[in-house]
Symmetry: C2
C-alpha cells in the first residue's frame, strides 16, 4: 500500500513528491510514462520562474528537478495510469496501462491540460518558435511588436487584451462575425485601440525560417491576407487531462466544472477525502510553473496530514 500515489511528473507532481518524502512518508511513487518535467519542457524560453534569473529553455529549467525532488526517496514508475478508483474502505486503486494495479492511501493528481490545436499549416512545426498558447508566458517576448491571436472565446479575447498591453498591435483572427465570449469581454476588446479584428477569417499557414515565425497567411472574405507578425497566439480551447478521474461509466469520481477542471479548495483538496488535484488541471489554474509547483507543495502537506491520520 502506497502512502501517496502521484499521477503526473510535471512541476506539480515533482514538487508534491519532494514535499511528501521530505515530510517523512516512506512509500511515495510518482507515475509518469515520459521524462519528468511536464509541458514546460516544450518551451524554448522561460524567464519568469522566480529564483532562476537566466533566460533558459524549459528543458534546462527542469533539468535539476528530478534529482532534487527524488533525493528524499520519491520513486518514479514509468507507466501510464489509466484510472484512479476509490475503494469502499476509502483507499484508492491505481490502474496502470500494463494491466497491473497498486493501492494507495492518498492520491495527488497533476496530469495537466493540453491546449487544442487550430489545425493549420506550420502550426506544429513552429510551436515554441513563435507559435504559442500562453500569453502570460510568452507575450513579453513580443514587447512593442505586432502579434496575431487566433480564436473567439473568452480566453482568446482576454488574452488579446492582455497582449495589447505589451505589444504594439494585436490582430485578432476569428472565423465568425460573432463571438462566443461574454459580451463585456467582447466590449473590452473592441474598446482596446491597438486590437484589429480580422473576422470571418481562418489561419491558412504560418511561415518562417530557422529563427522562427515570420508571419501568417489568413483566408479572409477578400482573399488571402498576410500578417507579418513574428508571434502567433492560439486560443481555441483546452483539453483538461482528467481521464484518470473517470470511472468505467465515464463519470468523474470527484467534482469537476463544466469545462472539466477539477474543483479544489485552497488546500488543493478535491470533493473526495484523500484525493488532491494540482497544476493546470485544477479550477482557476493560471498555468504557470511556479503556481503548479506551489500546488504540489500544498497538496503534499495535506496528503501527509491525511496519511498520518488514516494509517
Amino acid at each position: 500500500m502506497l502512502d501517496v500515489a502521484i499521477i503526473g511528473g510535471g512541476p506539480a507532481g515533482l514538487t508534491a513528491g519532494l514535499y511528501a518524502t521530505r515530510g517523512g512518508l516512506k512509500n511515495v511513487t510518482m507515475f509518469e510514462k515520459g521524462m519528468p518535467g511536464g509541458q514546460i519542457m516544450n518551451s524554448s524560453e522561460i524567464e519568469n520562474y522566480p529564483g532562476v534569473s537566466q533566460v533558459m529553455s524549459g528543458m534546462d529549467l527542469m533539468a535539476s528537478w528530478p534529482e532534487q525532488c527524488q533525493r528524499f526517496g520519491l520513486k518514479h514508475e514509468m507507466v501510464n495510469v489509466e484510472k484512479v478508483s476509490r475503494n469502499k474502505n476509502g483507499t484508492f486503486t491505481i490502474h496502470k496501462d500494463d494491466g497491473s494495479t497498486e493501492d494507495a492511501l492518498s492520491v495527488i493528481v497533476g496530469t495537466g491540460s493540453t491546449p487544442k490545436r487550430a489545425g493549420f499549416k506550420g502550426e506544429a512545426e513552429f510551436f515554441g518558435k513563435g507559435v504559442s498558447t500562453c500569453a502570460t508566458c510568452d507575450g513579453f517576448f513580443y514587447k512593442n511588436k505586432e502579434v496575431t491571436v487566433i480564436g473567439g472565446g473568452d480566453t482568446a479575447l482576454e488574452e488579446a487584451v492582455y497582449l495589447a498591453g505589451i505589444c504594439s498591435k494585436v490582430y485578432l483572427v476569428h472565423r465568425r462575425e460573432e463571438f462566443r465570449a461574454a459580451p463585456s469581454t467582447v466590449e473590452r476588446a473592441k474598446n482596446t485601440e491597438n486590437i484589429e479584428f480580422v473576422l470571418n477569417s481562418k489561419p491558412d499557414e504560418v511561415f518562417g525560417d530557422m529563427m522562427g515565425v515570420q508571419g501568417i497567411k489568413v483566408a479572409t472574405p477578400e482573399g488571402i491576407r498576410q500578417l507579418d507578425t513574428t508571434g502567433v497566439f492560439i486560443f481555441v480551447g483546452n483539453d483538461v487531462n482528467n481521464g484518470v478521474l473517470k470511472d468505467e461509466n465515464g463519470n468523474f469520481i470527484c467534482d469537476v466544472t463544466e469545462w472539466g477542471e477539477v474543483v479544489v479548495d485552497l488546500k488543493m483538496k478535491t470533493s473526495v477525502d484523500g484525493l488532491f488535484a494540482t497544476g493546470d488541471m485544477r479550477l482557476d489554474a493560471p498555468k504557470q510553473v511556479v503556481v503548479a509547483a506551489g500546488d504540489g507543495a500544498t497538496a503534499a502537506i495535506g496528503a501527509i496530514s491525511y496519511v498520518m491520520e488514516h494509517k
Copy 2:
C-alpha cells in the same frame, strides 16, 4: 496613479512585481522598507525550493530575486505602509509612514505573518540554528533524531505528529495538563508512539554552542529536566501582519478569519474588488516560499486583468 501597489517585498511581493510588469503594466511599485526577500532570509538552510537543488541559506536563495523581478520595470520604494484605504471611486490610497500617500488602481498585499516567541532564554539567540517555527521547512534536518516541540494548540499537536513521522522521538512540552487543540488532534498525538508528553512544564533555557542547539532545560513539576535535542520547534501562535488592512476605527477593509488571516479565493482575490492577498497572511497558507511565489504570480495575473478593465 499606480496601476498596482504591492505591499511587502517577500517571495509573494517580488513575484507579483515580476508578473505585473512583465505582463505590460507600466506603473507598479513594491513598498518594502527592509531588504527584499522576506522571512526566509532568516533561515540558515533551505533545500525544498524546486529548481534550486543545492542546500543554501535563505539569504543566498533570495539573492537573485530582486534583480530578476525588477528587470521589467518594477519600482521599489523603501518605506513602510501604515494603511491601505479604499476610495469611493473604487481606487485605493496607500498611506506611508513618512506621511505621504499614493493612489493605486489595484493593490496586492503580501506582508506575511510572524510566529510568536515563547519567551525563554536562548530562544532568539538560537533562532535558525536549531530553534525553528516551521516543521515543514526544518523537520527533515532532524531525521531519525529527537526533537522538542513547545505548545499545546492545534498547530503544535499537528506539527508534533508531522515531526513524529520524520524524527525518532518528539517531546511535546506544554504548560498545562489540558490542551486547547481539538480533541481529535489531541487523540491522534496521544496515539502516536514516539511522542512523549511533558505536561505542566515550561521551557526554561535552550543551550548550545557555535554549531547550534545542544538541548533545552524544561521546568517540570519534578524540577528542571534536560532534553538533549538539537531541534526545538515552537508553536505558540502566529501574528498575521494584517495591520495595513485596518481602517482608522480598527475594522478590516476586507474579510478576515477569526485568526486574522485574509480570506481569498483560488485567484487570491479578497472580498474587495481590486484587492489581492498573497503568501503567509492569507487563509490556509502553507507558509512555503514556492507557494507564496505562486500566490504572487496568481494575484498579478488577476490584477492585470482588473487594471485593463478599469483603466
